[in-house]
Amino acid sequence: MTTTPLLEIRDLHTGFHTDEGLVRSVRGVSLTVARGETLALVGESGCGKSVTAHSVLKLIPMPPGQITSGQILWQGRDLVPLSIREMNRIRAREIAIVFQEPMTALNPVYSVGEQIAEVVRQHMGLGRRAAVDRAVEMLDMVGIPDARRRVGDYPHQFSGGMRQRVMIAMALACEPKLLIADEPTTALDVTIQAQILDMLQDMKERLGTAILLITHDMGVVAETAERAVVMYAGRVVEEGTVDRLFSAPAHPYTRGLIRSIPRLDGGQGRHKRLDTIAGSIPSQYANPPGCRFAPRCPLAQADCLAAQPPMTSPSADHHFACFHSVPEAIAP
């Protein structure tokens, strides 16, 4: 590794101050995204993956939110101490984001063209007319039919899938080096999901944008990402190439996630119920010393509750945090 990664997060801690105390949503996350790659950040809702992503652009509400420690290195430069004014030069121009809810992420009182043109004018210094042309070009690129005519339409005149295309067009309009896609297909119909993912893949290839894909869906990970980071209760529990993770998952939580993917090939027997992970994620108020997954873990022993297991690396491209598990394929 001689080149600096595009994005490197080092031991990030993000919390929210509430009446009941500090909610520690992210508890020491580290990850890297290389130029042009797609990294998936996977976990159940509430595991801190969205907070991690929003921390990168400092989009968490502050207060009550706060990055308590850690570094977010963007091409080697730490973003954590930057002011909002300085962040505004990075947002959209270098790192853009697409959100989960296309129905609410667009401002209802401005036309989609206006909303795309706005970001282009802000960062690319284009005039009004050129900015609208750029908006049309982007809308066309993300597959909105008849883009020239629709550029003046308002968000409520588009379907959910089309709105997400608009959001992606807006995010990519300034050709950022990294696109954070925060559950971009979760709110959409299954058929639309695949279209959006294909389109994202296509855009990535055309523009060379790296993608940090936040998802809870291992199916989406398998389809789109090269590498994946699995998070549980604010921590990274496993990290590796997608091939590696699916062929020989190590952490019991990752194994659970993979087992709970619905399969069409009948590999689990036609009448077998889909596997689930028993229990629910732990409280974000509590701070027990041991492994956060231990209460739900089939392999848990006394030492799991006493100390946090360190990252172990069976190979250069695979790391996981568990005392008792070894990487192996899931029995069919």
Binding site: A96, T104, L106, V109, V119, Q122
Partner: protein, 319 residues
């Protein structure tokens, strides 16, 4: 837009008719003879009264009387003020500018206070600024205008002797001196009215901005690297104003109520003080006409608010 305007105008016309029906019903239901007072007044010749009786057709059934009255109003025949010895229409036209000037400036001032204060309070909810602003807003709209008016007179006219407490329509000054005198005498009535409005609008703006500021599209706007000022004004305030317009429209009757009190305290020669003096003098035609004008003003400004609302919110255009 044309269809909308036509429909909205039709509704406004219906409201004007509805209001006139209510007013006329109140008048008709009133016990006794509205002209009883006049009959016993030796200063008014009996034929004038007989004439008015005939015009109002007091012996006919009520709906006929209403239609006659309404037709006369439409034709601009608003009756004759027996006290002021002048056409009611003319009288009201003389008095309306003062009312609109005071109410208009007060609304502008209230807006100039409420918008920035409400937005700043909502941007830092529960901060010291927010707490002070909210407490002051509570005090502001718990202070009735008549009491604020008296306090102002006590402080600025009697104790400090800075401002005149009687508003005069016939200032003798000319040119720059006239402007200065006009400004000086307008300060108190306008401020009294504006403070009350600003207090309640600040609350509306604050709660509306607070609701909008955490919506997803505001995060989107921030993610676009727009300066905070643009995020707040273009993305937050524009949306937050939509419900505020409705609330403001709903409060218009209160605004004109406050105008009556203010005009009375500072003797502003508008239609509000005209209403009070006419009631004191039992001048029924003027009372009816002024009340009706107030109703029309409220309906007119509601119409304006609706058009504004539609202009602010493109989503409505679909329906």
């Amino acid at each position: 837009m044309a269809v909308f305007l036509a429909r909205r105008l039709a509704i406004a016309m219906l409201s004007v008719i509805g209001a006139s029906v209510v007013l006329y019903a109140v008048l008709a239901l009133a016990p006794g003879d509205v002209f009883g007072e006049l009959v016993s007044n030796p200063g008014i010749p009996p034929d004038v009264i007989a004439n008015m009786r005939e015009k109002l057709g007091l012996d006919q059934p009520i709906h006929i009387r209403y239609v006659n009255w309404a037709l006369a109003m439409v034709q601009g025949d608003w009756g004759y003020s027996l006290v002021n010895r002048i056409d009611v229409g003319t009288l009201i036209w003389q008095r309306i500018p003062a009312t609109l000037l005071v109410v208009g400036s007060a609304q502008a001032l209230a807006l100039a206070i409420a918008l920035p204060v409400g937005v700043l309070a909502a941007m830092r909810p529960y901060s010291v600024f927010d707490q002070i602003a909210s407490t002051l807003a509570f005090i502001g709209f718990s202070l009735p205008t008549f009491f604020t008016g008296l306090l102002f007179i006590l402080l600025f006219s009697i104790t400090l002797d800075w401002l005149p407490f009687i508003y005069r329509a016939d200032l003798e000054q000319t040119g720059g001196a006239w402007v200065w005198a006009q400004l000086r005498q307008s300060i108190m009535p306008v401020t009294v009215l504006a403070l009350f409005q600003a207090a309640s609008w600040t609350r509306y703006v604050r709660s509306s901005v607070l609701e909008v500021i955490r919506l997803d599209y505001v995060v989107t706007a921030r993610s676009k690297g727009l300066p905070e000022r643009v995020v707040i004004v273009k993305h937050v305030l524009r949306n937050a104003l939509i419900p505020v317009v409705t609330m403001v429209a709903l409060e218009l009757p209160v605004v004109f109520g406050g105008a009556i009190v203010t005009e009375q305290i500072f003797r502003v020669p508008g239609i509000g003080s005209l209403l009070i003096s006419s009631i004191m003098a039992n001048d029924t035609p003027v009372i009816m006409a002024v009340t009706f004008v107030f109703a029309c003003l409220v309906i007119l400004f509601n119409l304006i608010a609706d058009v504004l609302y539609r202009w602010l919110d493109p989503r409505i255009k679909l329906h």
